[in-house]
């Protein structure tokens, strides 16, 4: 269908008079937007319809205009009222329609409400601040206590380890097969320190050798004490040891036979045969 056919199909009149259905209207709007001729045809029909209506005008009753304007006045106020109500919901809740006092009353309420809100906010802030400080203080105290607790637990572990070591020592000393060989410095006329004392515990059954340092002077750091077993006049190495870090008995080398035990000061790591000075000596009884 070309534009002229479309225009003269009656659609223009149908549209203008409001008789076209939804689809036809949408179609016509599109055609109007696209074609000036369609717009022109619509406008022509509109004008002729308008002219005809004006010619046949029937003047309405005189009072209608004032009624309409009164109504419009109310409508406009409603719009203003609406904005007032929206701003101030308390006014609606109040239900009162009297203009001034209700408004002032509502404002008063609002002011109290605002003041109360601010007061609550201040109290809440102060309380938060106080509680936060309390929290910080407790938190640091807690950290301190935790540190102390850890320290105590560590000490407890050390103590427990030592206790176990001592318990082991005591159990060994109780053993009836354990021979005790006391080695005083006084037994050695050439001892650099005659107050030195050490004791060998020798299990005659298992042949295990333990050493207890009773009193030996701290050696220089390049030197170490060495225990010797004298077997048939020959010195046999029984192991080197340090005097510090001694906790109870030191386990030395196993010794099947021996007549004498002695301690000399040797170079760090020990010697094959004793070279340094002898500090203590004891005979196996």
């Amino acid at each position: 269908m070309n534009i002229q056919e479309y225009i003269s199909s009656g659609i223009v009149e149908s549209y203008v008079l409001g008789l076209a259905d939804h689809e036809e209207r949408a179609d016509f709007d599109r055609m109007c937007a696209a074609h000036a001729e369609v717009r022109k045809a619509r406008e022509l029909f509109e004008l002729s319809l308008e002219e005809q209506a004006m010619l046949n005008a029937v003047t309405p009753s005189k009072n209608i205009k004032s009624k309409i304007f009164a109504e419009i006045e109310i409508e406009s106020e409603k719009i203003n009222d609406q904005s007032f109500i929206d701003d101030d919901p308390l006014y609606v809740a109040d239900g009162t329609r009297s203009e001034g006092p209700a408004k002032i009353k509502a404002m008063g309420w609002l002011r109290y409400l605002a003041a109360a809100s601010i007061a609550l906010l201040i109290i809440s802030t102060a309380l938060n601040f106080y509680l936060f400080n309390q929290y910080k203080s407790y938190s640091s105290r807690y950290a301190t206590l935790m540190a102390q607790q850890t320290e105590l637990a560590k000490n407890n572990d050390i103590m427990r380890t030592r206790l176990t070591a001592y318990e082991g020592t005591i159990a060994m000393l109780r053993d009836p097969d354990m021979a005790v060989i006391k080695m005083p410095g006084t037994n050695v006329p050439t001892s650099p320190d005659s107050s030195s004392v050490a004791t060998v515990y020798w299990n005659t059954k298992s042949k295990d050798v333990y050493l207890l340092v009773n009193n030996l002077p701290q050696p220089p750091s390049d030197k170490q004490y060495q225990l010797w077993a004298i077997v048939d006049g020959q010195p046999v190495d029984a192991g080197v040891f340090d005097v510090q870090s001694v906790d109870g008995l030191l386990r030395m080398k196993n010794m099947p036979r021996a007549q004498i035990f002695a301690v000399t000061l040797e170079k760090r790591g020990g010697s094959v045969a004793p070279e340094g000075p002898m500090y203590v000596l004891g005979k196996v009884s």
């Binding site: 009656g10 109007c32 308008e50 046949n56 029937v58 003047t59 009753s61 205009k65 304007f69």
Partner: protein
């Protein structure tokens, strides 16, 4: 009446959208008669027409924002508001009851006193133009435009096929345009 002001349609619309009451007064003075005429042609009742006219102008005031100038002239928009409001009233139960109740006594009254309050709406406006159409066309425009029936309803009332209703209404409208020129 004060000084006579005239506006171009464009000026009038933008003033109305700004809720200018002077422009609204002009709109009423200019168009109330033409709109009242179409309302009367549909309702045939002066009292009801007054109420509807009032409703129409208040709706124009309220809904002016939704008026789109690209879709047609301001008068066409208002004419359609007036027609729709009138048809709504025509179809309301209230209207149908009042017509029934008063038909006899008032008509008797009218005959007796040479009653002139009631307009002879068959001789004004579009209805006058309709008289120039062929009967089969006139009836369809009457039903569609003045009674607000849909094409489907008309097909049922007149017991003619829907396609025929559509074609006849289109033809009737084309003739109507010729007579309006």
């Amino acid at each position: 009446m004060g000084t006579v002001i005239t506006y171009t349609e464009h000026e009038l619309v933008s003033l109305l959208k700004d809720r200018d009451s002077k422009a609204f007064g002009y709109l009423y003075d200019n168009y109330s008669g033409a709109l009242n005429s179409i309302i009367l042609q549909i309702l045939n009742d002066v009292e009801l027409a007054n109420d509807v006219l009032q409703e129409v102008f208040i709706n124009v005031w309220k809904k002016i924002e939704s008026y789109d100038q690209t879709k047609g002239r301001l008068f066409t928009w208002m004419l359609n508001i007036a027609r729709n409001a009138s048809i709504d009233t025509l179809r309301s139960k209230n209207y149908q009851n009042t017509q029934k109740n008063r038909s006899l006594p008032e008509n008797v009254d009218a005959l007796g006193k040479g009653y002139t309050g009631e307009l002879n709406i068959d001789h004004i406006g579009l209805k006058k133009v309709l008289e120039k159409l062929k009967e089969e066309h006139r009836v369809l425009i009457e039903l569609a435009y003045f009674k607000g029936y849909t094409h489907e309803e008309i097909a049922e009332i007149e017991t003619i096929p829907l396609g025929t209703v559509k074609t006849r209404i289109r033809n009737a409208l084309i003739q109507l345009r010729e007579h309006l020129k």
